[in-house]
Symmetry: C2
Subunit: 220 residues, 2 copies
């Protein structure tokens, strides 16, 4: 069996908002799914190491903002590849805080809803939170971003804590230099591009999260 | 909050194969998602009333066939809107039975994998099975069918036992006659079509599951 067959499972892209200790915080997940329609209950899977996991356990609540195809790679880079434990991840993001002290995104989302945890299940690496929906948008708009769209169109990849993370399998015939974004881990390989990295203009930025070219790291 | 905002969650389309008491059996679900990558673990949500639920509990195993965009509406109609409790649902479907006595589909799927249950969680209406993947295809092909594609392109709807089922909200200004497929609940409304139902040719069939026009029921 080839583990890559699991890439055929379909997911959406969501920002999970939580009440942080110092700032409101949010992270990106792809595994939100409805369990029952009455009472409206969803499940979401969050890595044990994520600050979001810790804060959901501490507060028993979170929000889901459903990302649309118009959500910029910057938002995904800012929320998906940093920890809210020691930084204000939402600093440059347009959001509002609900009266329950949990943030939801304001721009380019299809809708949002507020959830209260009713059960948790631990697995080796992730907690699956079962939660009832307590409030949400009056309407929805836009086209929901799928995980497939994120990979194919935005050319994003999964961070190490995602359930769907797959290590680089080294398919290359010979080792190649890679230029890696320190924030979102976007990889620029000369062997796959027309313009070599060094020849990109100085004001070139990471297409996912906007980090300047000068901050990219070379990996062998 | 409008409950329809939950339509923005993204899902795939899957056939769950089980060892039946009399025949191999299978049903359609849209909620399969990966939980951890090592050991490879997935979760799937199945309604309490479904024969599939009963058979997974009795045998501790099931398969997932990932449907592709080429999977016909007939397959979804045959597996998704009947019970395997008293009929051979796979009678007219191309499938094979693994040595573990569980069936997988053979045609127009992206891939398949075999799962062993490691944990179960009960909710009001559904059981969520956590299962480790024990074997699967050597490769995958085709484009996975999303639930959105099923709704928009195949014009399918959710059966009553699906977590994503939503009752008809009666948006019509005045009551209209509806012609409803007794198998897959596909609805033909004269008010939405160019040709009234009664004027369709006698050999017209349900576009989802192939049931003949003569078996459609009129609902007020």
């Amino acid at each position: 069996m080839n583990p890559k067959i699991l890439n055929t499972l379909s997911y959406g892209m969501y920002a999970i908002g939580v009440e942080g200790e110092h700032y409101p915080s949010a992270s990106i997940v792809n595994t939100v799914f409805q369990i029952t329609s009455s009472p409206m209950t969803i499940a979401v899977s969050v890595n044990h190491n994520n600050y979001t996991n810790e804060r959901i356990k501490a507060t028993g609540k979170f929000t889901v903002s459903v990302l649309s195809e118009n959500t910029s790679g910057f938002v995904i880079g800012a929320l998906g590849f940093n920890s809210g434990r020691d930084s204000d991840k939402l600093k440059n993001i347009n959001y509002k805080v609900l009266r329950e002290n949990v943030p939801v995104l304001r721009e380019n989302i299809c809708c949002w809803f507020l959830c209260k945890v009713v059960n948790t299940v631990e697995t080796m690496t992730h907690t699956v939170f079962f939660a009832e929906i307590k409030a949400g948008s009056d309407d929805y708009s836009g086209t929901p971003m799928t995980y497939d769209y994120y990979h194919k169109v935005i050319k994003g990849r999964a961070p190490k804590n995602a359930p769907t993370y797959q290590p680089d399998t080294g398919d290359d015939r010979s080792p190649q230099l890679k230029y890696v974004c320190p924030i979102c881990r976007f990889v620029y390989k000369d062997s796959e591009q027309t313009v070599p990295f060094e020849e990109l203009p100085d004001d070139w930025k990471c297409p996912i999260c906007g980090v300047p070219k000068s901050e990219f790291k070379i990996e062998g």
